[in-house]
């Protein structure tokens, strides 16, 4: 395991972020206007971001998903980048349901290919009823399996790890936005970021994220199970979201403020791809007595 990104990986992350930072596509996506978001996905695909699992090192996938999480890009990211990259067949986006922990296929209305995995077997699938998510950018669909395509190994674990990386990125963004806000928002004649309560809230968020990051990258390197990454990044990002809302106050509670994009997405991803309880059970099962 390497404990730092290579210069190439750092540069790849910067390139991705430059593309993602220019995009403000989430509200349109939530309203059903997918074109601006799809344009970003096309750029990512050109950069090779949607095929890193087949072409690159395992860590590269985490780099991509963390970047996507940081900018809250809508779309079936975990599914396209991590779970089904070798099933894209030249298409842009794919989505998949993996019951029981992933009961719905996200964005099946816009994905080029829709699948479901049942007991380790991949099926083509057709989308059915739409179900509302707490994240308005996640359109969830029931799916019905059609053609059987054969076994798909490791799909759930790859999705779990990708989801963890996305959460880590989202958590980092929430902390950055919170820091920025509390430095400029004043009450009682001084920035609220100068109050010790606010400082300590954000310091705890920082500690959580700092210690979650090596777990996510450690899971990508095979040193820890994917479940460990989801637990650590899920909790750290969720704490970042709760704290971000608290230090922003009412303005964070509106959908007008962009913060809500991250807050609702982190809540959704916290539930998706297996809850903390599911993954803690898996981790405990794998622990040796010595």
């Amino acid at each position: 395991m390497k404990f730092a990104l290579s210069p190439e990986q750092t540069q790849f992350a910067d390139t991705l972020d430059a593309v993602l930072a220019k995009s403000d596509v989430a509200r349109a996506w939530a309203a059903g206007d997918h074109e601006p978001g799809l344009a970003v996905w096309r750029q990512l695909a050109e950069l090779g971001a949607t095929t890193v699992v087949t072409d690159g090192e395992p860590v590269d996938m985490v780099v991509v998903m963390e970047a996507i999480g940081y900018r809250a890009l809508p779309g079936p990211a975990v599914e396209t980048v991590a779970v089904l990259p070798d099933r894209l067949d030249g298409a842009l986006l794919a989505t998949v349901a993996l019951p029981p922990h992933v009961p719905y296929a996200v964005d099946a209305d816009v994905a080029d290919r829709v699948f479901t995995v049942q007991d380790g077997t991949l099926f083509e699938a057709t989308p059915g009823k739409r179900v509302a998510s707490v994240d308005p950018c996640r359109a969830l669909f029931e799916v019905a399996a059609t053609t059987e395509l054969g076994p798909l190994d490791g799909a759930f674990d790859r999705g779990v790890l990708a989801c963890a990386a996305q959460l880590l990125g989202a958590g980092r963004a929430l902390l950055a936005k919170s820091v920025e806000y509390v430095r400029q928002r004043t009450q009682f004649g001084k920035p609220i970021g100068s109050y010790q309560a606010v400082k300590h809230h954000l310091a705890s968020v920082h500690v959580g994220l700092e210690l979650a990051r090596p777990v996510v990258y450690g899971a990508a390197s095979g040193v820890l199970p994917a479940s460990a990454a989801k637990i650590a990044a899920g909790d750290a990002a969720y704490r970042a979201a709760r704290t971000a809302l608290q230090v922003h106050g009412a303005i964070g509670y509106t959908t007008e403020n962009e913060l809500s994009l991250w807050i609702t997405k982190v809540r959704a991803l916290h539930s998706a791809w297996g809850t903390g309880s599911v993954h803690r059970a898996k981790v405990m099962e794998g622990l040796p007595m010595k």
Binding site: H101, V131, V134, Y253, T264, T275, S277
Partner: protein, 370 residues
């Protein structure tokens, strides 16, 4: 569990329970939609007609002169029946206590019955863009004019203002930080008033910005003395944090639903969180009965309301988080629990952030230096 309630209270509980079982609607659309707002208004009228809208108020204003204890019991039954959220809550829980304490007889007679029947629905207008936790930084002003005042400025995070009829809040009548404020009531549907809905996390416009440009209000719309608005507002602020806005009934009902959710599919690893949620609701219930007993013997609800608020706001979030986690992959789509969760997230923010409340507990109750 037997609280040794007196026969009159037991009879009252039975009446409320059976009336709600027969009359309480379920599945009303959100009160933060135009359609839902009117549906909720109609429900409150039904409640009022049964004299159950404001049981603890004097009969003259539509109440029953019920004891505070009975009001708490009413709330338990109301939430256990999963009856609709109260669209009139800003009026009956926040403005009414102020009118009882500081309003004139004329104001009470004119305003309270229409408030209780939801003929007039009220919105609070406390915050401004630069006055959140620091409420005394208010800039919206009231200028003297013939027979009344001209209100100007901007209020924000006004719950219910999108569809409500009237608002109440503080306006600056002189430059002094705290002593230059006056408590006003004002119309929301009048010339010079613009209301801009703001969508909350659930996508509905649960609050709004209010822009006022020289809006005339007559003298009788001032509560208390001119320049005394801060004290008037603070004297009943504990209502918002304390007893009235968050009666134990709400949390008892949520806790019971959580226990049922868990028992339907018991995950041993989550057991303690469920027990703690249930126990928290019980603790808050008994704590509230203690408060009611103290108030009934002449005590007052001061800084202690900050203890309430810290407790119920954390409890509310913890209960909903536990439910969402129990629901696994369905937690992302769990309509009722998600609605409650998003609602709970506002708890530690509004009515004075929990950071402010902890300052209050430390300084005013424990006596720590400022």
């Amino acid at each position: 569990m037997d609280l040794d309630l007196d026969p009159a209270t037991l009879a009252f509980r039975a009446e409320v329970r059976s009336w709600l079982a027969a009359n309480a609607p379920t599945g009303l659309p959100s009160m933060d939609t135009a359609e839902g707002f009117e549906a909720h208004r109609a429900w409150e009228r039904t409640l009022f007609d049964a004299r159950l809208s404001v049981v603890a108020w004097p009969e003259a204003f539509g109440g029953r002169d019920a004891s505070l204890l009975q009001w708490v019991i009413f709330e338990e039954e109301y939430h256990a029946a999963r009856a609709p959220a109260r669209v009139s809550q800003n009026g009956i829980f926040l403005l009414a206590p102020t009118l009882f304490a500081h309003g004139t007889a004329e104001q009470c007679a004119r305003l309270l019955p229409a408030m209780a029947s939801a003929e007039e629905v009220w919105a609070q207008a406390w915050s401004e863009p630069e006055a959140g936790s620091d409420l005394a930084a208010i800039r919206a002003s009231a200028r003297r004019t013939d027979g009344g005042w001209l209100l100007s400025g901007q209020k924000t995070w006004s719950s219910r203002a999108t569809f409500a009829d009237r608002g109440f809040g503080l306006f600056r009548t002189s430059g002094e930080r705290h002593r230059g404020l006056t408590y006003f009531m004002f119309p929301l549907r009048a010339p010079g008033v613009a209301v801009r809905p703001i969508a909350q996390l659930d996508g509905e416009p649960g609050f709004a910005e209010i822009f006022l440009g020289d809006v005339f209000v007559p003298d009788e719309e001032v509560i208390g003395e001119v320049g005394n608005g801060w004290k008037v507002a603070m004297s009943t602020a504990s209502n918002e944090r304390g007893l009235s806005l968050r009666s134990p009934g709400r949390f008892l009902a949520t806790a019971q639903r959580l226990v049922e959710l868990w028992k339907a599919s018991p995950d041993p690893a989550s057991r303690d969180r469920v027990v703690d949620a249930w126990l928290g609701a019980q603790a808050y219930r008994l704590y509230t009965f203690g408060t009611v007993t103290r108030l009934a013997s002449g005590g007052s609800l001061g800084a202690e309301s900050s203890v309430n608020k810290l407790f119920w706001s954390d409890l509310d979030i913890a209960m909903h988080e536990t439910a969402l986690d129990l629901l696994g992959g369905e937690g992302e789509t769990a309509g009722d629990w998600l609605d409650g969760y998003l609602f709970s997230l506002a708890g530690p923010i509004y009515a004075g952030t929990n950071e402010i409340q902890r300052n209050v507990v430390a300084e005013r109750i424990l006596g720590l230096p400022r």
